[in-house]
């Protein structure tokens, strides 16, 4: 099944706008910008978590007419600090047992499914929350600083693991504060301001 194009059309969040851009299947867009400029708010609008103006399309599906839980399964948002609602790690996954290869790629022990969430370090939480979203097999991933809590080696492992999804056709919208990371992963680089998104010249 071909992955449809994500198109953000004249969207306004509480931080500003209009934000308009398109992302093709298998493309990685990085979004940079100073703290407080509304990067997370833009991702939240793309996932339809906050009231916002403007329309977002995935192929010819309109966000405003798509059932919200279906939309969020297609355009999966991974917040910088994820939430946990059950006791053990595995309870947060549909089929934890199928994920052994991904756990290894992320440097997580295979038996961590039985761990209580309270025992996880912030880096483990971040990687498991990424895995939780990637396991949905969504065509679009909205990544909010996906390596913020990780050391350099783990960051690279996560980058490579995410780029493998991209190679399989997944669209990545990647918010980062690290210019070097943006250079490594981006097909196109954007800078976010209160007045819109601006594409940087080099990628």
């Amino acid at each position: 099944m071909p992955v449809p194009i994500l198109r953000c059309d004249q969207t306004y969040t509480a931080a500003g706008g209009p934000f308009s851009f398109t992302a093709s299947p298998g493309e990685c867009l990085t979004i940079m910008g100073p703290s407080g400029v509304g990067k997370s708010l833009l991702l939240r609008a793309l996932a339809d978590l906050d009231p916002h103006r403007g329309e977002v399309f995935l192929g010819d599906v309109r966000q405003s007419t798509c059932p919200p839980h279906d939309w969020r399964r297609q355009v999966a948002y991974v917040p910088a600090a994820a939430g946990w609602w059950a006791e053990s790690v595995a309870e947060h996954f549909a089929a934890f047992a199928d994920l052994t290869a991904d756990l290894a790629a992320l440097g997580l022990p295979a038996d961590c499914g039985a761990w209580p969430v309270s025992r996880l370090s912030s880096g483990e939480r971040q990687r498991l929350s990424l895995l939780r979203a990637v396991a949905l097999h969504s065509p679009v991933l909205l990544l909010d600083e996906p390596t913020a809590n990780l050391d350099a080696a783990s960051s690279l492992a996560v980058e490579n693991w995410l780029l493998a999804r991209k190679a399989a056709g997944v669209t990545l919208i990647w918010v980062t504060h690290d210019p070097a990371q943006a250079q490594r992963v981006a097909d196109r680089l954007f800078v976010l301001g209160h007045d819109g998104v601006h594409e940087a010249r080099d990628a």
Binding site: D48, D50, H69, P79, G83, W85, L136
Partner: protein, 269 residues
């Protein structure tokens, strides 16, 4: 039947209040700072109930449907306001009163009407001697439970926001993401009612039947009335909590299944 009723004099009432004065002495001696608030509360209670006696006597004597209806409306209005006041983070704006007030009015009036038409059937059916005291008993419990339920739901939604949204972004429905919080709010609200029913008659003898027995009613009769009141009050409370918590839950989301914490009022000053 000989009149066994004891007639209380005002002197007897004053004697009953002596214990509080004794405590006030202790409070002053140990600097507990409770003497003044307790005495003020006691005086308030005496004034409020004395006024109530005048109003009730007048209502019962006139038996006017209009006056009864007005009394019921005022009681419901006060109940809505008092419930709103007890919720730390109610819904913002009018919904803050309308949701609990609506739930209380629907549950209270349905229960009252049901009791008046079936079990009690006074003549006329709206006789204030029955309608007003029964509604008062219902509202006392309902207000408390509705406030507990809404307060628990909104506080949990605020505290667990990240965990609720973590479920939404994985494509779970709002209803699923809120299920444990909904269950917890409903249970918290009904806990006092459950406990009351479990303890009644074992360690606690309810005030209503005690009053009846003291004025000469046989325990059998008094307890039958007490059971009816407890069942009616529990039914009204359960119904009101269901309506109020469901209504609040509905307003915490929108047609896009978002968590709309922006619809809650800010912290109380």
């Amino acid at each position: 039947m000989p009149d066994q009723t004891m007639h209380l004099s005002y002197g007897d009432l004053a004697l009953a209040g002596l214990l509080l004065l004794l405590h006030a002495g202790l409070s002053i001696r140990f600097q507990l700072k409770l003497a003044r608030p307790l005495l003020i509360a006691a005086v308030r209670m005496v004034v409020q109930l004395s006024l109530l006696a005048v109003v009730l006597q007048w209502l019962f004597d006139t038996e006017s449907p209009l006056a009864t209806a007005l009394t019921v409306l005022v009681m419901l209005g006060f109940a809505a306001w008092e419930t709103w006041r007890r919720i730390a983070r109610p819904l913002a704006g009018r919904n803050g009163y309308l949701v609990p007030g609506g739930a209380i009015a629907i549950a209270g009036l349905t229960t009252l009407g049901y009791a008046l038409i079936t079990q009690l059937s006074p003549k006329p059916w709206y006789a204030p001697r029955y309608a007003v005291p029964i509604l008062g008993m219902i509202l006392g419990s309902v207000m408390n439970a509705v406030a507990l339920g809404i307060d628990n739901l909104t506080q949990n939604a605020l505290r667990e926001r990240v965990n609720i949204e973590a479920q939404l972004v994985l494509g779970r429905r709002f209803e699923e993401a809120m299920r444990t919080h909904l269950q917890r709010a409903m249970r918290t609200a009904l806990l006092p009612t459950l406990n009351l029913m479990a303890a009644t008659g074992l360690v606690m003898i309810p005030g209503m039947m005690t009053g009846q027995i003291l004025t000469g009613t046989s325990p059998h009769e008094a307890i039958k009335y007490q059971m009816m009141i407890i069942l009616l009050v529990a039914g009204a409370t359960a119904l009101a909590v269901f309506l109020a918590v469901m209504g609040t839950l509905r307003l915490l989301t929108d047609d896009r299944e978002r968590l709309r914490l922006d619809r809650l009022a800010g912290e109380r000053k």
